[in-house]
């Protein structure tokens, strides 16, 4: 099957000599919900910028659904919708005009453009604001406007660069549900995010980019399977008199009624509860110390830094 996005040996060196991409290769399959993660300055936005034709590449090949971005530019662009990280619409234009104008750039006639703008503005809860200048919208509405604008030509591949940055939790959840629905209907989605919980919740596959190299490219499931140890925080009903004895587990006392325990995957949690119960310690609640993906992300990026130092 032709991949939705195929990147081969992509390099980008900026005029100041900074090598943002060092020959990355990446395939995103049709129908995937794909996360591109990496620390700030890793090369995520440069990669997406090249795919979106906003950044000139130094070398390499990019194709979208088999259409080469150099030789079949118009066809490749037709397949692609882009939601950038920063607001990039004319703040003085009416909300609906922004969406209709974007449709026009894709050769969509005004009648269809008006129908589609209504469809997507309604779906994204912006229809009531259609006559308002874009500058009057809240931050979350502006982000949704950019999604509506990116969808108006009904692309097969949607790229979202940190779509939920600065968006409140409720709105973030509703955007997630919208994106899941879109993906379920067949749109391939690539997103970058700093919220690793977002990637874990939405995406099936993941690539981690650091210092211009892909340091990991796999499914989220197989990535998480590599996590051997998880840290749990136990909230106790009563104050602790002394640190409980839990042979085989690393235990730390956070305060008088909170314990932090490292649990290896094969050992599980049952022995912990059994032993605590025997010692008369009652657990009121429990939670993960950190997002699981976040732990892996940090370890992978740290490894990449060490490699770079050694090299």
């Amino acid at each position: 099957m032709t991949p939705a996005l195929k990147i081969e040996g992509l390099r980008k060196t900026y005029q100041n000599g900074f090598e943002a991409l060092k020959g990355i290769s990446l395939d995103v399959q049709e129908g995937d919900f794909f996360a591109l993660l990496g620390p700030n300055g890793a090369g995520k936005s440069t990669t997406l910028g090249i795919v979106s034709s906003l950044v000139n590449k130094t070398s390499g090949q990019v194709s979208v659904f088999g259409y080469d971005l150099d030789s079949q530019k118009a066809l490749a662009k037709m397949q692609l919708g882009v939601v950038p990280q920063e607001f990039n619409f004319n703040a003085f234009e009416r909300v609906q005009d922004i969406v209709v104008t974007q449709a026009g750039y894709y050769g969509i006639g005004r009648k269809t453009a008006l129908q589609r703008s209504e469809k997507y503005l309604k779906k994204l809860g912006l229809w009531e604001k259609r006559d308002v200048p874009a500058r009057m919208l809240s931050g979350g509405m502006k982000r949704r406007l950019m999604i509506a604008r990116a969808l108006v030509h009904e692309p097969r591949l949607l790229i979202l660069d940190e779509p939920t940055a600065g968006v409140d939790i409720e709105l973030r959840r509703s955007m997630w549900s919208f994106l899941r629905e879109l993906n379920a209907k067949g749109t391939t989605i690539i997103l970058t995010t700093h919220y690793l919980e977002e990637a874990e919740s939405l995406c099936r596959n993941i690539a981690i980019i650091d210092q211009g190299n892909i340091v990991e490219n796999t499914s989220i499931k197989s990535l998480l399977q590599r996590l051997n140890t998880e840290t749990f925080i136990l909230d106790l009903s009563d104050d602790l008199v002394e640190l409980p004895s839990l042979p085989g587990y690393s235990v730390r006392q956070v305060d008088t009624h909170t314990l932090e325990i490292d649990v290896e995957k094969e050992k599980g949690l049952n022995p912990v509860f059994l032993q605590l119960s025997r010692q008369g310690i009652e657990v009121r609640s429990m939670r993960n110390k950190a997002n699981r993906l976040e732990e892996l992300f940090v370890s992978l990026v740290e490894k990449s830094l060490v490699k770079e130092d050694v090299a």
Binding site: S52, L54, E86, H153
Partner: protein
């Protein structure tokens, strides 16, 4: 993209441009109307009445084509330079760059938008001039083709300026220090036959002289220069500026990193 899709994209840019300058008509359409009315009152009515005839026409009648052309030149240039720079500044140029719009369509759209404002203001100034003098068009097609081609030349100039501009100061430097002096010295207010021989030669290096005179020939039937040569000059300017603007777009100068 097939030709229908290309035309839709082109027309979308044109409509967006027209919507922009009509939305802010107080900044775009009203000021040239006021300025040109003042020119007609001061230079035409008050001072002009003491100057006497020029090339066989009353001074007001003589300067009217030049003033119309001056407004077309400054507004065509001003529209594209401010609109395209604003598009870069607000980053909504990215809306066009991600879309399958060829660079020549982007350029044609902005240039047509600029020409639309230039010609719109030209019509306003022409109507105003009729309150002060009578204008009878001697050569309709020369008049129309000159004004349209001139609007295209200066829209292209505005586009190139906008590509290079990094700040709002950069979009006012060329109009202030280049365009205005060239326009004033381009035979808007006088016939170059009044100048000494050396300065007549220098004046012929000014491209605006050809446009003003060609337009004046279209309306009044008199010109300081050969009309065929004037058209050739305008065509050369369009080709050179158009080719350079396309080169800038193709290389992504100022718009792609």
């Amino acid at each position: 993209m097939n030709s229908r899709l290309l035309f839709t994209a082109f027309w979308t840019i044109v409509i967006k441009e027209i919507r922009r300058f009509t939305r802010i008509w107080v900044q775009t359409l009203l000021p040239p109307a006021i300025t040109m009315t003042l020119y007609f009152i001061i230079f035409g009515n008050l001072i002009g009445s003491r100057i006497g005839d020029m090339e066989g026409f009353g001074y007001m009648e003589y300067i009217a084509p030049g003033l119309i052309m001056m407004s077309v030149i400054t507004n065509s240039y001003g529209n594209v330079v401010s609109s395209f720079f604003g598009t870069k500044f607000q980053r909504n140029i990215e809306e066009l760059l991600v879309a399958p719009v060829p660079n020549w369509v982007i350029l044609a759209g902005y240039v047509t938008g600029g020409a639309a404002r230039g010609l719109g203001v030209g019509i306003i100034v022409t109507i105003l001039s009729l309150f002060f003098t009578q204008l009878q068009i001697s050569h309709l097609w020369i008049t129309l083709s000159t004004v349209i081609l001139t609007a295209i030349v200066f829209s292209l100039g505005g586009f190139i300026n906008a590509v290079y501009a990094n700040s709002f100061d950069d979009i006012s430097i060329v109009p202030t220090f280049v365009l205005t002096p060239l326009t004033y010295l381009g035979g808007v207010f006088y016939s170059i036959s009044l100048l000494p021989g050396f300065w007549q030669g220098v004046s012929q290096l000014n491209p605006i002289l050809y446009m003003v005179n060609s337009f004046r020939y279209g309306i009044l039937g008199v010109s300081d220069i050969n009309i065929g040569f004037a058209f050739a000059m305008i065509a050369v300017f369009i080709l050179l500026l158009g080719a350079y603007a396309m080169h800038l777009l193709n290389t992504g100068k100022g718009i792609r990193s």
